[in-house]
Subunit: 78 residues, 2 copies
């Protein structure tokens, strides 16, 4: 049991690294999807992570979401 | 100049806290926008931050973005 606990502790930084990589990769993808239009509207923006996420929220709130989500598969297929 | 540098250093944790709060608030909003539909498709999902962001990317890639972004204002008005 102690050895198992040791292994779990050893894996923690790796799992955390993978989690951060998934988050950063998604934010980069959101940036490439919405960034060009955003920069047209705010050319001087530095486009930080927080900006990218706020602009994604803005974009999604302006859509009629229920109508779209019915036609859309939100689950990523690995 | 040294006192100014000291003030900048003093403000850093506050600025970082605000940055994290903006990021977390946006992820929570994305969750409330897309989460219900996602949970219909994957009821057992824990919906971690990375899941929410990946599902946002999935959703946006399935839209015809140029057509939508033309009609949409991406800039948040404070």
């Amino acid at each position: 049991m102690t050895f198992f606990f040791f292994l779990v502790q050893l894996r923690k930084p790796l799992v955390e690294k993978q989690r951060r990589e998934r988050i950063n990769s998604s934010i980069e993808q959101l940036k490439s999807l919405l960034g060009p239009e955003f920069l047209k509207q705010q050319p001087d923006s530095k486009l930080e992570k927080a900006d990218i996420l706020e602009m994604s929220v803005c974009f999604l709130t302006q859509l009629e979401l229920p109508a779209h989500t019915e036609k859309t598969t939100l689950v990523k297929h690995y």
